[in-house]
Each structure stands twice: as structure tokens, then as C-alpha cells.
């Protein structure tokens, strides 16, 4: 066993007596002499079957933990991504001699914990249960059950988990980062999706196990109230029957190189913040002499402290975020750099500007002496604190053997840290960081996406879905298509005319329309009928009436009326309110027979043609309709082929500031009279509910007359 003793060499200050009761508060106290740090990296014991055992003795608590780590190669899984994860979960499903329920009960009865993962397990218990726990663990490794019903269950759970990734900004960002950083051919660029999970079969899991789960690739790390010989005996007793397998070698994979900055955007409707990840890959293997230099560099740029540049700039100075960090990770295959955080929508672009400029600055100018000193003392302290956990020593021992590090790699850590200069840092920053070739990934609200274009070398945004796949962007509408032309086509079609002249003629004989839609809803086993009647009269008269017929009672849910001068609304449980002020002025504008007839003449309405989108497979012109001075807006989808309005989405905000959206789908336009066309089917989607209604009745007339406009229904 090697033994190394060292002293934290930084700032060994000899301090005078400071135990007086009188103190001068205006000066910070000086530290006592540095404490001694002991690091005992244990030697590795190799059993006959190749299993390597690392024992870290720590007799503070009567507990022992066992960690198995099988270091098999990381390979692409192709159309079966997610396989290793499923394997890791399924491993805990009992053994050939002990079904899962009994296994779980036995573990819990000891108050022990056993959790498995794709590379092995972590288990711990009080010392008195150690022999029994090891017997269970050895069965789990040598003769796992892999029951079919558990496989099916775990697969199903993973499918559910995959679905939930679509609401987690962090998962979405990490999926996209994986794909764009490493490419889909690299094992790190593979993303688990519903279809890759569905391709996995139990047989695949068993094959994976027998090929990869072998003692000659495995480490058993024992930590706790146990001595070395005792541990060696116990492990060889329980794991010597684990059979060796064919040696496995890690392959190398190509990673794409990023040219210029690339912006990737994932739409998360309703997001109040954007998750920003700015990243690129770098070739940095564990144990390389640049690793420590880059760790110090990262500590200054965006390590965990409040005084790191990103945190101090974006949080403490600008208040753009709760936290902004960066990370540089070494890896056997290929490492990466990433920086980012969550930022409120309004400042997302400003936050990106700041992060980019910090990355640029740190790779072009040397850090200050003060920053370097601070980083060194902070990292020295963190190193010392990490030794409180015996698992740290275990990790050091594992890394030493796994990556073939020099024996004194960790013992010399503080000395190597102390020797680093700011020139060293600038040199590695220049060598590794790519401030002009970054992947900029933003998960957020679509409203901010336009502002991101400037960050892309080609001024374009690549839209991705939650799993990093390209999302079809809106296609450009054809030459000559404008919002006005789309609306005009729709109006002509509604009135079955083909020119302005014909439309004028049609409208001169048309002054009133009344429509009733009927919906049937299931209300806890009973069927309720809902009737929605709308009235519209020339030029600006309108009314609506919603009636619900339930088996027990009928009720009027809502009323609206406007006679051209005055009007109001009635909502069930809320009562009547009269139109006043702006709302009243708004009502006075022409509205007959449908709002679209007046978009062009209303200077307060802004129409924007966003492009061609699909609605249930049908190509549609997507229009954004906004009213001046109003934050609410709507999207209208007009079929490219037929010209009909088939979908309308309205986006508004409720009193608590939450985004609320309502969708109406229109289908099956039919003639009412004299060529005037109305959708026979209207479907309302809101709050996760879908209400489908059908046209029950429609009346047209020449004169705009109805009691409804006066509020009499």
C-alpha cells in the first residue's frame, strides 16, 4: 500500500496568538497553519478470474458498501438505443433461484440498499448484514433472472419516461447537444426514442449481458468498516465462480467538427424561460496533463462559485438568471465543453451575447493573478473537503488503475495545481476552446426564436424536436401569395364568388346570419347537450348564446349581444357586464358576417404569412393575426388546396400570467343558401378537452334584425 502525506502548500502562514476576546472586526481574520491532508490510495487486488478489488477502509460507521463497475466498451446501439439502460434496470429483477419479490423483500428486510445500473450495482448495508448481502449480489451478477414480465414492465415505464422528456427543457437540450456535438453515428450522439425502445427484445438484453458482463472487465470497490483481508476473502468466496469472457476492446469513433456558430432551436410552447446550452466537443482524455489546466480555466469561467465570470456577469451583475455555469469534461472517447443556464424570455438573446463574449475573452486574454489565486485556493479547499467522503478515495483508486494514471497522480494533485500559471491557462484555452465554432442550443418559447438568427454563422436557425431530430420547418409560401390574397380567396370561396364585383353584389343582398351548433358531452356517465348560437347583422351587430341541456337541469352558460351602439355579456356565475370604453369602440367596428371580411380594412390588424404548415397532413397557409396594442394573437390555417380556414389557434394570457391557448378546427364546409358556405363541423380544443359540434340550423336574411342584438334570446 502506498502512503503519501502532504501539506496544503498554498499560503502556509504562521499566525500569532489570536485567542484574545478583543477583535478588530474591520479586518478579516488570518488563517491558522494549514492542516495536513492524508491520501492513502489503496493498491488493487486482482482475483483469478480477473476481477479487480479495491478496498478503502473507513471504520467510522459500522457500514460497508460494494460497488461493481464493469468497464465494457461503449458502442453504438443503432436502432436499439436505450438497451444498456433497460439492462441496468432489469438486472435488479431477482435471480435464477430467487424471484424478484423475494429478492426485494430480503434486501429491504436487512435495511440494505441495492441499486443496479448498466455497468453494475451499488449496494450497502450495516456490517452485520454484509455476508448475506454479498450472497445476494453474487447471484445477481452470476445468475440473473431477466424475467419477461419485468422486461415488459420496464420497457413500458421507459416509454412513459421518454414521453415526459418532451416537457423537460433540460432533457431536450441535452438530447440536441448529444446529436449535434457527436453526430448520430457516435455512441454519445445516440438518443433514446420511442421507436428505438420498441426495437429492443429480451434476447438483446441477454446477449448484452453474456458478452459484456464479465469479471475480467470488472472492478469491485469495497468501502467501509471492513479490513482488506476480510474483504478479499469475502469477495473471492462470492465471486470466484463468475466466469471470464473474451477480452473486449473499445473502438474509436469520428466526431463531426463544427464550422462556424450553429443555432439549434427546440420549441417549448408556454415556456417562461429559455434553456441555453453553448457547446462543442474536444479531444481530452482522462489523465492528460491539460486536464487540470482546463479545470482551473473552467473554474474561472463558470465553475460553481458566485465569483466565476459567468455567474458574476449574468447573475450578480445583470440578474438574467438564477445560475449560469460552464463545464469542461475529459472522456475516454471524446470530451466536451458546455456553458449555459436558464434565462427569462426577454433577455435570452442578451444572455447569449454575454456568454459568447466571456468564452471569447477567456480564450484570447490571460486571466488575472487574482482570479488564478482565487481559483487555486478554491480548488484546493474543494479537494480537501471531498476527502470527507471515503467514496472519493475509492474513486481516486479506480481512476488510477482504470486510466493507468501515475501512482502519485492524486497525491500530487495540489502540487500540480499550485504550479499552474496564467500562461498555461491561456495556452490550453487557445488550444481547446472554439469560440467561433460553437453549437448554440436554445429550448424555449417560439416567440424568441427570431432573435437567435444573428448568432448563427449563416443567419439561420435549425429547428429540432425534443429528441434532436430535424423538425420540418415551415415551407415558404409560393410566389405572389400574401396574407391579403389568402384571406380574399377564403372570402370569395365562402360567398361562392370569383371577383370583387360579384362579392359586392352578393353582399348587397345579404345582411343577417344566424347559426346554431350542437355538441354532445359526456358528463360523468350522463350526456349533456350544448347549443351555441351566433347571430351576425350588418354592419356590426352581433350576439351569441350558449345553452346547456343536462338531464337534471338546463342552463344558459353565456350570452353576448351588441346592437350597433350598446351591448354586453352574461357569463354563468359571473353575471352581466356592459361593454365600455375600448371594448365598446372595438365592437362598433364592422364585423358582419365573419371577422375575416374586415381584416384588410382594419388598420389595427396586422396579418403575417408565416409559411406553409401541415394540419393533419393537409398543407395550409399559416397566418399570424395580431391586433395593435394587444399581446394576444392567433394563428389561422388556410388549406393551400381548397382555400378553407381549417384551424384557428388563439393565444392569450390568464389573470395569473399563464399562457392559455384555444384551438378551433373547422371541417366540411356546406352551403346554407345562395352560395354562402359554413363549416358543418366545428371542434373546440381547450384545457385538454375536445368538444366536437355540428351545425344544427342556419338562417340567412337580408335585414339585420333580431331580438338577440338587444340581449333578448
Amino acid at each position: 500500500m502506498m502512503k503519501k502525506k502532504l501539506i496544503i502548500g498554498v499560503l502556509a502562514v504562521i499566525v500569532g496568538c489570536s485567542s484574545f476576546a478583543q477583535i478588530d472586526r474591520s479586518i478579516p481574520p488570518t488563517p491558522q497553519p494549514n492542516p495536513e491532508i492524508n491520501i492513502n490510495i489503496p493498491e488493487v487486488i486482482t482475483l483469478e478470474n480477473g476481477l479487480k478489488v479495491i478496498v478503502v477502509e473507513n471504520h467510522k460507521l459500522p457500514k460497508v458498501s460494494f460497488q461493481l463497475f464493469v468497464d465494457y466498451p461503449t458502442l453504438p446501439k443503432g436502432d436499439k438505443v436505450g438497451l444498456t439502460g433497460i439492462f441496468g434496470e432489469l438486472l435488479a429483477s431477482g435471480t435464477e433461484t430467487m424471484p424478484k419479490d423475494e429478492f426485494d423483500a430480503t434486501v429491504d428486510y436487512m435495511g440494505a440498499t441495492v441499486s443496479t445500473n448498466s455497468n453494475g450495482f451499488y449496494a450497502s448495508s450495516l456490517k452485520k448484514h454484509t455476508p448475506k448481502l454479498l450472497a445476494l449480489l453474487s447471484d445477481l451478477v452470476i445468475a440473473p433472472a431477466f424475467p419477461k414480465d419485468e422486461f415488459d414492465r420496464i420497457l413500458k415505464q421507459n416509454l412513459s419516461a421518454i414521453a415526459s422528456e418532451e416537457s423537460s427543457p433540460a432533457s431536450m437540450a441535452s438530447n440536441v447537444a448529444a446529436v449535434v456535438n457527436y453526430g448520430t453515428k457516435h455512441p454519445y450522439g445516440e438518443v433514446t426514442t420511442e421507436s428505438t425502445l420498441n426495437n429492443i427484445e429480451l434476447e438483446d438484453i441477454k446477449k448484452h449481458y453474456s458478452k459484456n458482463f464479465i469479471p475480467n472487465k470488472a472492478y469491485m470497490i469495497v468501502v467501509g468498516d471492513i479490513n482488506r483481508d476480510e474483504a478479499r476473502e469475502l469477495i473471492s468466496e462470492h465471486f470466484s465462480e463468475w466466469k471470464q469472457g473474451e477480452d473486449l476492446q473499445q473502438e474509436n469513433f469520428k466526431t463531426p467538427t463544427t464550422k462556424g456558430n450553429n443555432v439549434y432551436f427546440v420549441d417549448k410552447p408556454g415556456a417562461v424561460q429559455s434553456q441555453v446550452t453553448i457547446t462543442h466537443t474536444l479531444d481530452l482524455k482522462p489523465g492528460h496533463e491539460d486536464v487540470l489546466k482546463l479545470k482551473v480555466l473552467n473554474q474561472i469561467l463558470g465553475g460553481g462559485s458566485f465569483s466565476a465570470r459567468l455567474m458574476s456577469n449574468l447573475r450578480e451583475d445583470k440578474a438574467y438568471t438564477y445560475g449560469c455555469y460552464s463545464r469542461i469534461s475529459e472522456d475516454e472517447l471524446y470530451g466536451k465543453f458546455s456553458a449555459g443556464g436558464s434565462f427569462r424570455n426577454e433577455v435570452t438573446d442578451s444572455a447569449i451575447v454575454e456568454i459568447l463574449s466571456e468564452i471569447f475573452k477567456i480564450s484570447s486574454e490571460a486571466v488575472t493573478d487574482k482570479e488564478l489565486d482565487l481559483a487555486k485556493s478554491s480548488m484546493t479547499g474543494a479537494f480537501a473537503r471531498s476527502l470527507e467522503s471515503p467514496q472519493t478515495i475509492a474513486r481516486f483508486a479506480l481512476n488510477t488503475v482504470r486510466y493507468d494514471l501515475p501512482d502519485d497522480y492524486y497525491a500530487n494533485y495540489l502540487t500540480r495545481l499550485e504550479k499552474l500559471t496564467k500562461e498555461d491557462l491561456l495556452a490550453v484555452a487557445k488550444k481547446y476552446l472554439q469560440p467561433l465554432n460553437l453549437n448554440i442550443i436554445v429550448v424555449g418559447n417560439a416567440e424568441i426564436s427570431d432573435k437567435l438568427k444573428n448568432f448563427d454563422a449563416n443567419n439561420e436557425i435549425k429547428v429540432k424536436d425534443a429528441f434532436g431530430r430535424d423538425k420540418s420547418q415551415l415551407k415558404q409560401a409560393g410566389e405572389g401569395i400574401t396574407p391579403t390574397s389568402v384571406i380574399q380567396d377564403f372570402i370569395y370561396k365562402k360567398c361562392s364568388v370569383s371577383s370583387e364585383k360579384e362579392l359586392d353584389k352578393f353582399m348587397s343582398k345579404f345582411g343577417y346570419i344566424e347559426k346554431t351548433y350542437k355538441a354532445e358531452m359526456d358528463m360523468g356517465g350522463m350526456t349533456a347537450k350544448m347549443y351555441l348560437t351566433t347571430y351576425s347583422g350588418k354592419p356590426n351587430k352581433s350576439a351569441s348564446y350558449v345553452k346547456i341541456e343536462a338531464p337534471q337541469q338546463n342552463m344558459v352558460a353565456q350570452k353576448e349581444w351588441f346592437d350597433g351602439e350598446t351591448g354586453g355579456t352574461y357569463v354563468m356565475m359571473q353575471g352581466v357586464s356592459k361593454y365600455e370604453g375600448e371594448e365598446l369602440e372595438e365592437k362598433k367596428r364592422p364585423s358582419f358576417p365573419d371577422p375575416q371580411f374586415h381584416y384588410a380594412s382594419n388598420e389595427d390588424i396586422k396579418m403575417e404569412l408565416l409559411g406553409i404548415d401541415e394540419v393533419d397532413g393537409e398543407a395550409c397557409y399559416k397566418l399570424k393575426i395580431t391586433k395593435v396594442g394587444d399581446v394576444d394573437f392567433s394563428h389561422e390555417y388556410y388549406s393551400v388546396e381548397s382555400g378553407w380556414l381549417i384551424k384557428q389557434e388563439t393565444f392569450s394570457t390568464d389573470e395569473e400570467g399563464n399562457a392559455v391557448s384555444t384551438t378551433v378546427l373547422y371541417n366540411n364546409y356546406q352551403e346554407v343558401k345562395k352560395g354562402f358556405m359554413v363549416a358543418e363541423q366545428m371542434t373546440l380544443v381547450t384545457n385538454g378537452q375536445k368538444i366536437e359540434s355540428h351545425l344544427e340550423n342556419a338562417v340567412m336574411g337580408k335585414k339585420p334584425k333580431s331580438d338577440a342584438f338587444e340581449g333578448k334570446f
Binding site: 494549514n34 448495508s125 450495516l126 415505464q157 384551438t663
Partner: protein, 501 residues
């Protein structure tokens, strides 16, 4: 009695004996300073580090309506600086010393800590004593931290799936008690904070007798006591502390005005103005002009609202930006100090701790209704809640999941749990109890919590006896007292907007 029962009985006895043997006592000393501050010290030389912590007995339950979120906001401001520590340097002292620092705010307390190399203990004491004596809060800091806190709320609550759960549960479980709002508070209230709010909050709650200093690690008790006395014992309390802070934060003019009645003209004397302008140290200044001012600690206001159990089940649906529906149930449970606390906790363990737990076996594995299901108590100083939560598997109706969860809870009301299950729970507790307290920061925090909430820091050594005393009947009884439908809030989380196709 059959053989299995004999075996169980035998195991119960052995586990009792062994737990008594294995208990490694956490030794500590505790005492009060003259100003009322409570001090707890634990010495352990296994790693050369020390955790310096201060617990202020103030949380969101001490906030006023219209100022929700203030205690947590204030915590952020407490890193801004002090009379002797410039803005943006508080954390740098710690970092430079090789340490780490942070804080958190709950319904009941605000907790600050530094973990330092043990030779930097004095640094931790200086920093914390500065925070207590004369923290400075400038407008620029207020404006910045206000936005930072809002970002924290967006990140943790608004933009996170199910992130609003605490807010949605607590506002329904409580009608009167300030637990009805959550520590993060509301954005409007954060905007509404006025200067006097900061002053009053600091003076009311950041006073020695509302603070517990708990230190654990590689320390020498006697030396530590001396330093504690020097840094914290020198902090006045009562009126004297107010005058001290006014002397440092008010302008001469403001000070003269405020204390005109007391100083009776002396405040305009050449001598007084001279001392002020020549920056006579505050301590000496007070001695000279306020020799008779009281140091008696002022009473700290605490909410005394008592809300009994709920009388009628409250059911609601929350639409959120989520993919998988979830069911969440919250039962009102007694305050942390109540004797039923231990049985309540064990009931929750029975439901969801370990793979053999009832929820995992029935709801997750057998019926496959849930992707995951948890039960955990959320004990608070005043009566708290126990939460039962399950995430539905894809395509599972929340109504079915709800019934399955309720059925498991009901089963505990009707049938005693088995001897084997009780032993399992006790073995788990033994394991958890021995495993806890493995870090210095954890020990310092537990000692402080136990002192403040439970009235005895020594529970760190003895609390396991309270669990071991719980019987099967106790668990059934608390199930029938607290885990009944009329005493709960049930929330169904549903995806906000189903895609239109």
C-alpha cells in the same frame, strides 16, 4: 406461534440489541451566550474541515400577507455585504479560504453555512457574526437579487414539469396559516417590498436570541469557545443592537432626529458631532452616549394560528406543461414535535421506501398504473402535511391511479401491518440512522434543527428510540386519524393542451 413468527421475534430482539451497541454517540457541547444566542459545538478530527452554520428561526411563515417570499428574498440579500465587507466580496472570502458557502430558506427557518478547511474556522465566525451584527443592503443589490429570485422561481417552479406542486398543494391545505403560501412567494409581493420592510425584518428576526450557531468538525472546543465569545458574544441585543445598527446605517441628520428625545439636545453638541465625524468606533460611541440603553432581547412575533384537520376532501385538477398525468394527495399531519410524528413517518416508509414497499409492489409493478409512486412526510414546526404522489404510466387514467393509491392507504386503516413489515421498517430506520450524520455539515444542521424545532439537540443520539417504540397499532391508529379522505387535498395533474390532431 409458528416458526416464522418465532424467527421474526428473534430478529426484532437482535436488531434492538445491535442498534444499541452500534450507536456511535455524537458528542457535543451547547450553551447560550449572554446576548441569548445559542451555541452548539461538535468536535471530530477525521477530516481537516469545519462546518460553521447559523440557523435563524425565521421562514416564510413569519411573513406578512402582501410580502410573501420576503424571508427567502432577504436570504439572498444577506450575501450582499456588511459594514466591513464590501459588496460582492462576502463569498470571495470563503472561496479564497478554500471553502464553500450557501443558504436556504424554508417555511420555518433560514439556514446559512460555510464549510471550510479547519484552519479557517475564524474566517467563518467572522463572516457569520458580520451578517448578524450589521449586514448592509443597498438599492442596487435589492434590484439585482429581486430579478435573480424571480429567475429562481421561473426555473424551479414555472418552467419545471410539476414544479408548481408545492404552491398548488399548500394553498389548498391551509386556509389561514401562513403555510398557505410557499417560501418562494409571489412576484407581485417581491415587487412591493419597501425600504422599511428590510429594516423591520432585519431588526425583528436577525437578532442573537433568534439564532443558533452550530459548528462541527476538526475544532478545539476551548479555542472555539473563545472565538465564539469574541465574534458573537460582543454583539449587543435589544435596544442597544438597534442603536448600533442606526449608528452605522443612518446619516448624522437622521440619527439626530431619531434619538432627539433620548439625547435631549446632546445630539447637537460639538462633542457628539465631533465623535460622529471622527468615526468613533460604534461600541465606544454607544458606551458614551447610550450607556443606559437596554440590551434586553425583544420578543419575536410568531404566528399562533391553529388550523385543525381538514373537514372535507378538496379535489382539483391542475393543467400544466407536462406529458404524463400525475396524482398528488396531501394529508394534514401534526406538528414535528408531536408524538405521532414517528408513526406517520413509518407509515410513509411502508408505502414507498424500498422495492418491496406497498406502492412499488402493487401500483408500479403489479398493476403498472404508475411509472413511480412516492410517499413522504413534509413535517413542519406547526402542523404539516404528508404527500402521496404517483406519476401515471402512459395512457393510464388518473381516476384509476387515484383509486389504487387510496386503496393502499385505506388498507393500512383496516388491517394491522404484519410483524415482518414492522421489523423491516425498524431495520431500515436503524440503517438510515447509522448512515446519517456522516458529514460535518449534516451533523451541524441536525443538531441545530433538533435544538430549534424539537427542543433537544441530543435527539441526534436518541431519536431512534422513538421510532423503535412505534407499534403496529400506532401505525393503524395514525392511518385512521390523519390518512382519511376528509383530511386531504387531491390534485390531478393533466397535460395543458392536447395536440389538436
Amino acid at each position: 406461534m409458528n416458526i416464522k413468527n418465532w424467527l421474526c421475534a428473534g430478529l426484532i430482539i437482535t436488531s434492538f440489541n445491535i442498534s444499541a451497541q452500534n450507536k456511535k454517540k455524537i458528542d457535543f457541547v451547547e450553551y447560550d451566550l449572554d446576548n441569548g444566542m445559542h451555541v452548539i459545538l461538535h468536535e471530530d478530527h477525521s477530516t481537516p474541515i469545519v462546518a460553521v452554520t447559523v440557523l435563524y428561526h425565521v421562514g416564510s411563515k413569519n411573513e406578512k400577507v402582501g410580502r410573501t417570499g420576503f424571508a427567502h428574498f432577504f436570504e439572498h440579500l444577506m450575501f450582499e455585504g456588511t459594514t466591513n465587507i464590501d459588496r460582492h466580496t462576502y463569498d470571495k472570502f470563503v472561496e479564497k479560504a478554500g471553502g464553500t458557502l450557501n443558504a436556504n430558506t424554508s417555511q420555518d427557518r433560514t439556514f446559512y453555512y460555510e464549510i471550510l478547511p479547519s484552519n479557517q474556522l475564524e474566517m467563518g465566525l467572522w463572516l457569520e457574526s458580520e451578517r448578524l451584527l450589521h449586514a448592509t443592503v443597498e438599492d442596487i443589490g435589492i434590484e439585482t437579487q429581486r430579478e435573480v429570485v424571480k429567475e429562481e422561481k421561473r426555473q424551479r417552479m414555472d418552467n419545471q414539469p410539476y414544479g408548481s406542486w408545492m404552491y398548488e398543494i399548500f394553498r389548498r391545505v391551509y386556509k389561514e396559516h401562513p403555510y398557505r403560501w410557499v417560501p418562494i412567494g409571489s412576484m407581485e409581493d417581491l415587487d412591493a417590498a419597501q425600504e422599511e420592510d428590510y429594516v423591520n425584518f432585519y431588526r425583528t428576526f436577525y437578532v442573537p436570541h433568534n439564532a443558533t450557531l452550530s459548528i462541527a468538525g476538526d475544532i478545539d472546543i476551548e479555542q472555539t469557545k473563545k472565538w465564539v465569545e469574541a465574534y458573537f458574544g460582543s454583539i449587543p441585543n435589544g435596544e442597544k443592537l438597534d442603536v448600533y445598527r442606526d449608528k452605522e446605517f443612518l446619516s448624522l441628520n437622521e440619527f439626530q432626529k431619531k434619538y432627539a428625545d433620548q439625547l435631549k439636545g446632546r445630539e447637537n453638541s460639538k462633542d457628539f458631532i465631533g465623535d460622529w465625524n471622527n468615526e468613533l468606533p460604534t461600541e465606544a460611541f454607544i458606551k458614551k452616549y447610550f450607556s443606559n440603553v437596554s440590551t434586553k432581547p425583544k420578543e419575536i412575533p410568531r404566528p399562533d394560528i391553529k388550523e385543525g384537520l381538514l373537514k372535507k376532501e378538496i379535489k382539483d385538477t391542475i393543467y400544466d406543461n407536462i406529458q404524463l398525468p400525475a396524482v398528488m394527495m396531501a394529508y394534514r399531519i401534526p406538528e414535528m414535535k408531536h408524538k405521532d410524528h414517528y408513526a406517520v413517518e413509518m407509515l410513509n416508509m411502508l408505502l414507498s421506501q424500498g422495492n418491496s414497499s406497498r406502492f412499488n409492489k402493487t401500483i408500479v409493478e403489479e398493476s403498472e398504473l404508475a411509472m413511480a409512486a412516492f410517499a413522504f412526510p413534509f413535517p413542519l414546526e406547526d402542523p404539516g402535511i404528508a404527500v402521496v404522489f404517483a406519476l401515471a404510466n402512459m395512457g393510464i387514467d388518473v381516476g384509476r391511479l387515484d383509486s389504487a393509491m387510496t386503496a393502499e392507504v385505506n388498507k393500512i386503516q383496516k388491517e394491522l401491518i404484519s410483524d415482518e413489515e414492522l421489523t423491516k421498517l425498524k431495520n431500515m430506520i436503524e440503517n438510515d440512522f447509522i448512515s446519517s450524520n456522516s458529514t460535518m455539515a449534516g451533523i451541524a444542521e441536525t443538531l441545530a434543527n433538533n435544538h430549534v424545532y424539537m427542543g433537544s439537540a441530543d435527539l441526534i443520539n436518541t431519536e431512534i428510540d422513538n421510532y423503535m417504540a412505534v407499534t403496529k397499532e400506532d401505525i393503524k391508529r395514525v392511518a385512521n386519524t390523519y390518512f382519511i379522505n376528509s383530511n386531504r387535498v387531491v390534485l390531478h395533474y393533466l397535460p395543458k393542451e392536447e395536440a389538436s390532431n
